[in-house]
Amino acid sequence: MKRRDFLRTTAVGAAGISLLGVPFSAVAAQSITLTILHTNDQHSRIDPIPDDGRKHGGMGGMARRKTLIEQIRKEEPNVLLLDSGDIWQGTPYFNFFGGELEYKLMSEMKYDAATLGNHDFDNGLVGLEKMLPHAAFPFVSANYDFSKTILENRFEPYKIFEKQGVRIGVFGLGIELDGLVSKSMYGETVYNDPVAVAREMVQELRDKQKCNLIVCLSHLGYKYSSDKIDDMKLAQQVDGIDLILGGHTHTFLDEPTVVQHSNGHETLVNQVGWSGIFLGRIDFSFNKSSKKKTDVRTAVLPVNTPVTTS
């Protein structure tokens, strides 16, 4: 489904519900917007990808991303900046400085939270521990159990952000490390089933913590043909996540994939390729008068295609 069609579908849904309704202006007055910005699989791409004819050459660059983020922060009242893992590995910046610069620059951009990807274990638990002081943002990880490692108590399963009274719960899920990362690197880190953990997280965040929006930072991967757990299976098997921001498979999506649950709840799944070629952006509107989707803007914009030559 192209973004165009998706927006149209959403518009129909909105029209159906607005028939019940309070005037749009009254709703709009009470609406609060939240802008979620996100990256995944940055792979130590500090500088833009060399413009030497390779794919996506000339794209990316953390100093440019900072400019974009600053611009959006000036325009939008509520911004959350999140990352779905594999911050590390891929350029000599990581090999020479061990991830220090990546964390420092992400702190500079004021990331709110990140989760761990498999390559974030590439210098072992010791290498990760050594770099954590450079990160001014928290890592959320709900399904890795670090209790038997040197990283015990260094990560929280989730973090809650409050923006103008809207509570946003953000939790993290990591991929199975066995076979992907050398055992000597992840040591006694235990991988727990993402589906079971995600269900617990939804219950905790929705019911106990009274969150209005639940975001999962996942490094599971978008979709596999095997029965290996991925973001699409997670979205189908766990009810109640609003947004899954994925990584690992370096997937470029024209628009977030929507998974509809039988109770009408929708889970969006998004991923923005890799290397910081794109900054992901999803805007949510919240309205206090409980009108579902009366204020979805339905402007039809062309689907972005990667700019490789600009």
Binding site: R3, F6, L7, A14, L20, G21, I46, D47, P48, G58, M59, M62, A63, R64, R65, K66, T67, L68, E70, Q89, G90, T91, P92, N95, F96, F97, L101, K104, L105, D122, V166, D178, G179, L180, S182, D207, K210, N212, L213, L243, L253, E255, P256, N270, V272, I277, F278, L279, R281, I282, F284, S285, F286, N287, S290, K292, V296, N304, V307, S310
Partner: protein, 251 residues
């Protein structure tokens, strides 16, 4: 009037029903612009640039050092490649001194070698792109049965490169397997040098897990590649490797 009342009741019911599920704020996504391109039209933030600059200088200086020359590029591909032969051979020659005991053969995969080595000057930067990961060399002692399994997987997967050996692919199975010219003996053990990543079952090489013996060489694969190229250059030799038709594929 009556219609307005009905509308009001309808609205009230909806408010109540949604209130029951304790979601005072209901989220609606706006998906107008979900991929913001980070391209040349965006100005780099000067403060960030200043923070990056000293790191960049150090990286550039280290990366642009020419370590060797290749008369033609060493390439990627299936079953057997010049790049695969170059790397598998140097894995043995570089490990030999540190390991001290005989190593029968060497293994790598096409996916593990990230980019080809270009024709002409080879810089440290090229070697980093070829092997960006911090993989270290390990020597595995494997049973003959596991080695047979390995060759069968190589025949089927096409991306596994094994040196010091020849085999024939028939019906996606390996037959006529020879290691150093001798037929594979399933009741014998063999020593294999590879990366710790592949030894841990990476690229689905599950038969490498739980070997008879697992010994670390004490050297990163990238350092081994760099050292081999530097040594060749010091001896006045170019960086070359030929495809030797180690694999015969039956139609």
């Amino acid at each position: 009037m009556k219609q307005n009342t009905l509308k009001y009741i309808g609205g009230l019911l909806l408010v109540l029903s949604l209130g029951a599920c304790q979601r005072t704020f209901v989220a609606s996504p706006v998906l107008e612009n979900t991929d913001v391109p980070v391209d040349k039209t965006v100005t780099a933030d000067p403060q960030m640039e200043a923070k990056i600059a000293p790191y960049r200088q150090e990286v550039v200086a280290k990366m642009s050092e020419v370590v060797g020359t290749a008369p033609k590029s060493l390439t990627k591909g299936s079953y057997e490649t010049s790049l695969g032969n170059f790397v598998t051979d140097l894995q043995i020659s570089q490990s030999q001194k540190l390991y001290g005991k005989p190593i029968n053969f060497s293994l790598t995969t096409d996916g593990g070698l990230r980019v080809p080595l270009p024709e002409g000057n080879i810089t440290t930067g090229h070697v980093f792109e070829l092997m960006p990961f911090e993989n270290e060399l390990v020597v595995l002692t494997l049973t003959g049965d596991k080695v047979k399994e390995l060759f069968d997987y190589a025949a089927q997967a096409k991306f596994v490169f094994i040196n010091n050996s020849t085999y024939t692919v028939a019906d996606s199975k390996a037959t006529d397997i020879k290691i150093n010219g001798k037929p594979l003996e399933t009741n014998q053990t063999y020593t294999l040098v590879t990366s710790d990543y592949l030894a841990g079952g990476g690229d689905k090489l599950t038969m490498l897990k739980n070997p008879v013996k697992y010994e670390k060489v004490g050297m990163l694969l990238r350092d081994a590649i760099l050292q081999q190229i530097r040594q060749l250059t010091a001896e006045g030799k170019p960086v070359t490797a030929e495809v030797q038709n180690r694999v015969t594929i039956l139609p």
